[in-house]
Symmetry: C2
Subunit: 234 residues, 2 copies
């Protein structure tokens, strides 16, 4: 409840993946009234946008903006340039050393800045995102110190911040392992069959099973002692 | 010259207005090899994009990306929502009190984050933008403390920053008055006839003469003792 006695609003960045679905379910449990933002940014794994829509529907989110912004014009990432191969078959221990070709330049900063705009127009009190820094893929913009820096920008950049109502930037999964994220999501009844993590799915959206993201997901489900419904529901 | 003996690259945010054209000309004089980014964000004054193209051509910039991103989906600004009137006839002294309806939520953060992505893919050493905090329109994201916060994000967010090559965020006009900006631009041979400042131009692109931006521009040219070529070239 906020000071007016109504539910506080929050904008959640919903990618269609496992982490952001879990973060959204967490925020709903915390009592936030959610709006969602997904970005159609030229990613080769566009199937995740269908998953974002299903996840939003599962969570009862009706204010869901899917915004087209073609980051492939800048190039430089295996996720937006089909000429750059997605790494396959890497050991999980090797993923956190160096920044892989799936890194999309400035992606989280772009997504957070767009969430900031949406949050301002919804009078939201928080932005929620599913980044995590433990079982991650070596992206610089997934670290807690990065989030702290963005919090400062959000406060100085916006009408709300200037008027003394700084936005919260909530990353509830930032210190969790993939196993812990999945355990949390299962406890919150997240339908992981409606999420997609693969960077390089088949044309009909089946996961490749070999990219970093597929391997982290599989290891997380195995550690949590659960079956991944995505692999059975297709 | 950078450490490799070649010209350092910089990405300039080119709106089509007077300030960014001046900032770009300044950066060229400083020796940067320039690429330019303009955003087609649903602004009612889209004529400024034609001006951005003319200014880029005048400055010999061949790497010019005009990226569509429809910020009108979020609403909340007179610049993207024709249902919200653009303030007209305000005294200049009144402009810096409060945040006007022409404020676009999180606009500079969105534009800087996109420039950050472009800078990373161009191996640029700097982002250049024309914001200024003296004769400005009360926007929170035009202040020096905001820029400092974004610098910290840029360093933490990017591959270059992580690898010890933080980007410069250069705002050469931030402490200049509109008069000083125009004097600088005239000394740098900026063609102000190829720039447009009006928030609410006529369908053929003529300035309204009464919005905050037109009034600041007119006062700046008057103080600099120069004629505005935009008013004669149409």
């Amino acid at each position: 409840m906020n000071r007016l006695g109504s539910k506080a609003a929050a904008v959640v960045l919903l990618s269609g993946g496992l982490d952001s679905a879990t973060a959204a379910a967490w925020a709903r449990r915390e009592g936030y009234r959610l709006a969602a933002l997904s970005l159609d940014y030229g990613q080769r794994h566009r199937v995740e946008l269908d998953c974002a829509r299903r996840t939003a529907a599962n969570l009862g989110i009706t204010d869901h903006v899917v915004l087209p912004i073609d980051l492939s014009v800048f190039g430089g990432s295996a996720l937006t340039d089909t000429g750059i191969p997605v790494p396959k078959g890497r050991a999980i221990d090797a993923m956190a050393t160096g920044i892989p070709s799936t890194y999309v330049p400035a992606r989280n900063t772009i997504f957070l800045s767009l969430a900031l705009a949406m949050a301002e127009t919804r009078q939201a009190e928080a932005i929620v995102l599913g980044i995590n820094a433990v079982d991650y893929s070596g992206y610089p913009d997934c670290r807690p110190e990065y989030l702290d820096a963005f919090r400062a920008v959000a406060t100085l950049a916006t009408k709300a911040g200037v008027e003394g109502r700084p936005l919260e930037i909530l990353a509830p999964l930032v210190a969790l392992t993939k196993e812990e994220i999945i355990r949390l999501g299962l406890a919150l009844d997240v339908d992981y069959g409606s999420t997609s993590s693969c960077y390089d799915p088949t044309p009909v959206g089946h996961p490749c099973g070999q990219c970093d993201s597929c391997r982290l997901r599989a290891a997380g489900f195995a550690a949590a002692g659960a079956a991944d419904p995505r692999l059975t529901s297709g």
